[in-house]
Amino acid sequence: MAALDQKSPNVLLQSLCCRITGKSEAEVAHQFQYAVRVVGSNYAPTIERDEFLVSEKIKKELLKQRREGDAALFSELHRKLQTQGVLKHRWSVLYLLLSLCEDPRKPSRVGSYGALFAQALPRDAHSTPFYCTRPGSLPLSYPERSGPGGVQISTSMGTSGISSLGVYSLNGPTPTPQPLLAGKYIFFKQLNDEVSKLLTGTVTFMAFVNVVLLFVAFLNPSFFFSPAEVGEAALVRDILYVFQGIDGKFIKMSNTDNCYKIDSKVVLCKSLRDTSNRLAELGWLHNKIRKYTDSRSLDRAFGLVGQSFCASLHQELKEYYRLLAVLHSQLQVEDDQGVNLGVESSLTLRRLLVWTYDPKVRLKTLAALVDFCQGRKGGELASAVHAYGKTGDPQMRALVQHILSLVSHPILNFLYRWIYDGELEDTYHEFFVASDPTVKTDRLWHDKYSLRKSMIPTFITMDQARKVLLIGKSINFLHQVCHDRTSPGKITPASKSTDSPKDAAELLSDLEGAFQGKIDAAYFETSKYLLNVLNQNYLLLEHLQAMRRYLLLGQGDFIRHLMDLLKPELARPATTLYQHNLTGILETAVRATNAQYDNAEILKRLDVRLLEVSPGDTGWDVFSLDYHVEGPIATVFTRECMSHYLRVFNFLWRAKRMEYILTDIWKGQMCNAKLLKSMPELSGVLHQCHILANEMVHFIHQMQYYITFEVLECCWDELWNKVEKAQDLDHIIAAHEGFLDSVISRCLLDTNSRSLLNQLRAIFDQIIEFQSAQDSLYRSALEELTLRLQYEERKKQRDSEGEWGVTAEQEAEENRRIQEFQETIPKMRSQLRILTHFYQGIVQQFLVLIMTSPDESLRFLSFRLDFNEHYRARDPRLRASLGATRGRRPSNI
């Protein structure tokens, strides 16, 4: 390497200059100076110091010249160079060689650059003071930037632009088009220069050509910059801004008219004005949609449905922006390449009209949707979007369907979560099932979950919505009330929920089929499971039957025995009764009858309840049976239901008691009739008693028949059928409530039949009175009888003893007593007569009332009560009303 390092760079440069130019040292001083300056200023290379890159470039260059063989040769040589390892800066040498590389095919450009140095050199030669100094003292390694030489070169390049243009036109090869628009100012200057040159004398062909070319460039229409009228290109640029909602130079948003208006100061031909107006509509639509999405994105309480709506709008806007980007790039390309693209592919307002037609239709639909959906959220929003899908235009329909599928995706998610897991996570109240957190578990079934009607989307029918509510409710009921922890997955083999909007779209397209099928399947499975649990674990149906047997006096033997046992207790005043006594009696009754074979679950719920005591009550008035319910059973037998049951029990118990009383009366009558045969004066009274008793018995019999068969049995049958066929708990509850309602109305316990009930009560009271009257009658009669018998006995005895049978006083006394007795008889008779009359009056009133009742079975009851028209004969009212309406439907009275 010693041989290479001998000389300093300056010396080398000078020798290089000499070598290349072929002149002596003194003559090349100027060039040498220049060289030094250039090398000094460009100290750091601007290119990457990568040898591989350079060698690749060289190869590419060679290949471009179609010299593949040479390229291979070069690779060889390069490898050799690398192995020799003599050079330190191989890359720089290679780069140098590359840059000096000349394509043998290209024409020499030596002649054209003639002008360059010719102009520069003389100036330089005179201005530099270092003309004669030795090269060694010139600084070479300072990084001088932008020496004056650099600037000079660029201006000279600038000025030579036109001349070179002229030269090119002479030489022939097609030049690349110069950016005429960019150098407008320079144009004018050069035009000036060239024209002056032309005029001042040195008329060369080149200068003339230059002038001609400049004029041609000047005359180009796009070159015009007339401040009076706006060109289409500028308008196009403006319109592109307006499309995005930004005010352009000429077209601005006018808030008063809420539209885009062209500035009135601008001079514009009518057609352009009209077209721009039409195009500006797109910007208006865009603004509208953008405003909506922006304002909604700030709204925190907008909810999931609203957010997905905004997201879908965003998506559509993105497509729109994409179109705008394409248009913009089109414009950009034109800018870069000037007008030489030709009129065929430039961007005009007409072209914009055509290309934005489809987007305009889409944006119109979206804007209309946005308007319609203002202020809605949740299910309402989905309904609104769905309403818009009912259109004939397939494009619009497709768009709206797409949005609908996105929007309803959250709702369907909610729905699936609800029906498969029973969970409701709805912070923004968008779903149509609402949960009331204040409700406790005992009212879970009835009160906790309800339908939010406004949020039901229109593509889900009311029936489906109710089913959905029911399914979720059942699952929650199972979890919380029945404490059944089976996972919902076991109940319904859940198909996967909607994971993506695509599933939602599929589902929406087939609402009738797949969706309904899903809901139905879930519904059946869940309800079946629930009913199973209730029946097996909680014996719902057994309890229902137990209610019938005990509270509705179905178990006859038990009730009769109970009444027998309770009779002495309940005759006492109410205040003296103790519950535990009565409970004990109840237990005895249960054990003695068939009731003991009942399920222990049921028996332990049976209990005695003492109602509120008012003064003067006997035990009969306050006694009641009770049935305890809790847990899931309490859902069916709610508190209201239980109170209904108790009322019915009360009524039935009273009726039973009447029957019981009358049985006693009849018994007494039978027994005493024989005994009192010997007192013929009583026969009339007794006859009266018998008749009255028979009437009462008949009445009560019919009532009992009516209650037992027409009311209880029929309703029970209906209930049982419904319960057996029930598909879910709601059905059972409804059937049960219907049962109770009909029982109550037919037992005259509801508010409509209050008057009837009062009549009945009055009848019952009369019966009780009659019983007491009869009792007193019998007592006195029997007393009398015993006294008489005693008298006879004594007489016989005395006879047998040989004395007088009766003394005169005794006889007189006896006769007096008998007389007294016989005087009481008419009193009794009148009493009985009053009683009878009263009783019959009440019964007639009762009959009149039930004749006109809307209930068919009551009317039939009246038939039976008065089968031989016994009452009709007595009462003219009855005659009229009965005659008028018997066998016919009653008119509204």
Partner: protein
Amino acid sequence: MASSANANNMNAVRETMDVLLEISRLLNTGLDMESLSICVRLCEQGINPEALSSVIKELRKASDSLKVRTCSGDRDRYLQNGVNRDTIEQGCPHF
């Protein structure tokens, strides 16, 4: 030892130069051996090859123009001095 090392070095250098000359001929740079060696030396000393190549290009242009100029200038001078045209045509090879 040193001389053999030197001799080896000289060989290596000569070979490298040969290779470079070959490459330069391939690339049609127009550099002869002398210029090439000067260039290589300059590059080895750290000169920016971009600058150097632009210098060389300018020098070439300058030399061409100078030749033209000197030819035409000579012609004018000769004309002014009344030299015969024929003499000039013989004298300027690049005319």
